[in-house]
């Protein structure tokens, strides 16, 4: 036990004396959080917009005033005709144009129907979709307030639950936790173990009376502790800087994070037992773990809109299950009775990976 303690102390020396390791461990989570929190946003703001309105009557003026008043849009002015929209898009002056049909108010009064066309620059389809939805909603509101009694129309209204302001940072923080844990646990442990192989010190450790299990546990224990510190840091930062809530139970959230940490550590050990150089370990971790965690976990791209084959594949990505769980806890504030199945899947994966990595490490010795 004493020799084991010495081993763990040595491991901490390695970490605290290598500024690159430190940077990845402590700098990256903060940088990523700030990047995702401030720079990568799905919500729209100050979108440049122009109107095409040949009549300029009292109804169109009111609608335009409503759009002008919202913080989403920044009204550039009027365009003489619909034909000018294309050029304005091309020159980057506006991202959206709202076209009122000629004689808008009188048509509405006589026929009960009038057309508004929303034209968006869809080079960035996600933003375009949001702009369109925002505009449609403003018009729908106007309609309800002013014409509700006279015009018999069904007004559809969509409401965003759990994230009413559509704050993307709420969505990113859980994904970010998954990403950082994968990076710290899987990548860093696989690197630190293969580094000993490269240096030749692994041979000496194996020839020593230390048991292989002590070597493995001794190598991953520091990363286990540090990644837990990371989770807490991200949660606190997200709370203080971006006001991201934890609506459910905090102990439950931390317990689920520990489970995911174990899963990622096992993956790291598995990778390192199969590769003999740090370079291979890095490549395998990046391509085999980080990419799926970013792309196939539902972190950025919704799984439901993927092709069926890819959807099936996401079942073996641990981060997918973890994301469902922590979004449930953080944003929906519900308890384990709603996601015990996902927890079970994650626990099963962890068990399988642990067994596989232990076995793989043993066979390497023979």
């Amino acid at each position: 036990m004493k020799s084991f303690r010495g081993f763990v102390i040595k491991e901490f020396f390695h970490i605290f004396r290598d500024y690159r390791t430190l940077l990845i461990l402590f700098g990256m989570p903060v940088i990523q959080l700030v990047l995702f929190g401030y720079a990568v946003r799905n919500e729209i703001q100050d979108i440049n917009i122009a109107f095409v309105d040949s009549t300029n009557d009292h109804v169109t003026r009111q609608i335009k005033e409503r759009i002008r008043a919202s913080s989403y849009f920044n009204v550039i002015g009027q365009l003489p005709s619909e034909r000018d929209i294309r050029e304005a898009f091309q020159r980057g002056l506006i991202k959206e144009a709202v076209v009122f049909e000629p004689g808008f108010a009188s048509r509405l009064a006589h026929d009960g129907v009038a057309d508004i066309r929303i034209v968006t620059d869809a080079t960035d389809p996600n933003t375009a979709k949001s702009m369109q939805a925002y505009t449609a909603s403003i018009i729908a509101h106007y309609q309800r307030d002013h014409l509700g009694s006279t015009a018999l129309r069904i007004v559809t209204e969509s409401r965003m639950r759990f994230n009413p302001e559509l704050k993307s940072v709420n969505l990113f923080v859980p994904g970010l936790i998954a990403l950082i844990l994968m990076l710290v646990c899987a990548l860093m442990t696989s690197i630190t173990i293969t580094r000993e192989k490269e240096l030749g010190t692994m041979e000496v450790l194996l020839v020593s009376p230390l048991k292989p299990i002590h070597i493995i546990v001794g190598k991953v224990l520091p990363y286990f502790v540090l990644s837990f510190v990371n989770v807490v840091t991200i949660l606190v930062l997200a709370r203080l800087v971006f006001d991201v809530p934890v609506r459910g139970s905090v102990p439950l959230l931390l317990a689920e994070c520990l489970l995911f940490i174990l899963c990622a550590l096992s993956l790291g050990i598995l990778i390192s037992s199969r590769s003999n150089s740090q370079q291979t370990a890095t490549m395998v971790s990046l391509a085999g773990l980080l990419l799926p965690t970013v792309i196939l976990s539902g972190f950025i791209f919704p799984i439901s809109s993927m092709p069926v084959a890819l959807q099936l594949f996401t079942h073996i990505v641990p981060a997918k299950w973890f994301l469902i769980i922590i979004r449930d806890i953080m944003l929906k504030g519900i308890g384990i009775e709603y996601f015990w199945k996902e927890t079970l899947v994650l626990a099963g994966m962890t068990l399988i990976l642990m067994t596989a990595s232990a076995r793989s490490f043993k066979t390497r010795l023979e």
Binding site: S3, H14, D18, S208, L210, L365
Partner: protein, 242 residues
């Protein structure tokens, strides 16, 4: 007294016979040069003797312990150093000593007395708190050797300990090996330098998983009628290399 006894020791990997029924003894305090071309089976043989690998058949005892049933006891009685010096570059001299002493279960007091002895003997007292990275290669190598002896093993296995080292340092290193053997510690050393083989009490030459020759360098040269160990090695190992 025999410190290593091997009887028809064999290791197979599937159909491939890496070590083919080798038998030999090593006396306590002896320097045995373990020679052979790459792939001749030296590494596999060493792994079996150090308790890392279980033999397929045959018997062997190391320091009186059986390789099948007592590998943990063997590990406590042996020291090991490889070509790559096996010290952590980002730890200081004292930290490396403490770490290796610790994993062999030495007490804090044992570690500190042996550390001070060792640093004085190597004249490295001033470098106690320097990182290994900042030490010249020759010093690192001597230090690694001394650290491998820290727990006072009865046998020390040196796997190509002088690879990539200049001739003067090599010579000094061999002086250390002699001192160690004089203290009664058995030295089991592999090397590709044939002049070093001449320094050994006895040498064994492995070819294709078998020991083709074993004995004192002078006797072997006489019986094979060659002028040097180098010539002997080339003659025995050539069929494999072709």
């Amino acid at each position: 007294m025999k410190i290593i006894e091997a009887q028809r020791l064999t290791r197979k990997f599937g159909d491939f016979v890496a070590v083919d029924a080798i038998s030999f003894n090593v006396e306590a305090g002896e320097i045995l040069g373990f020679l052979g071309a790459n792939g001749a089976g030296k590494t596999t043989a060493i792994k079996m003797l150090t308790g890392l690998l279980s033999p397929t058949s045959g018997d062997a005892t190391v320091a009186g312990f059986d390789v099948y049933s007592q590998p943990e006891k063997i590990k406590k009685s042996i020291g090991y150093m490889s070509q790559r010096f096996s010290l952590y570059e980002d730890l200081t001299v004292a930290e490396n000593i403490r770490f290796y002493g610790g994993i062999y279960g030495l007490s804090a007091r044992q570690i500190s007395t042996r550390r001070d002895d060792l640093l004085e003997r190597l004249d490295l007292g001033h470098a106690r708190d320097d990182r290994i990275r900042s030490l010249p290669l020759g010093w690192r190598q001597k230090l690694a050797f001394s650290v491998a002896l820290l727990h006072e093993p009865r046998i020390v296995f040196l796997d190509e300990p002088t690879g990539g080292v200049d001739p003067i340092t090599r010579r000094q290193f061999w002086d250390m090996i002699y001192e160690t053997a004089a203290r009664g510690i058995t030295v089991f050393v592999t090397t590709h330098y044939m002049d070093e083989a001449e320094y050994c009490d006895r040498i064994s030459i492995m070819v294709d998983g078998r020991i083709e020759a074993i004995g004192q360098p002078a006797d072997l040269k006489k019986s094979f009628d060659v002028a040097s160990v180098d010539e002997l090695f080339v003659r025995l190992a050539r069929p494999v290399q072709a």
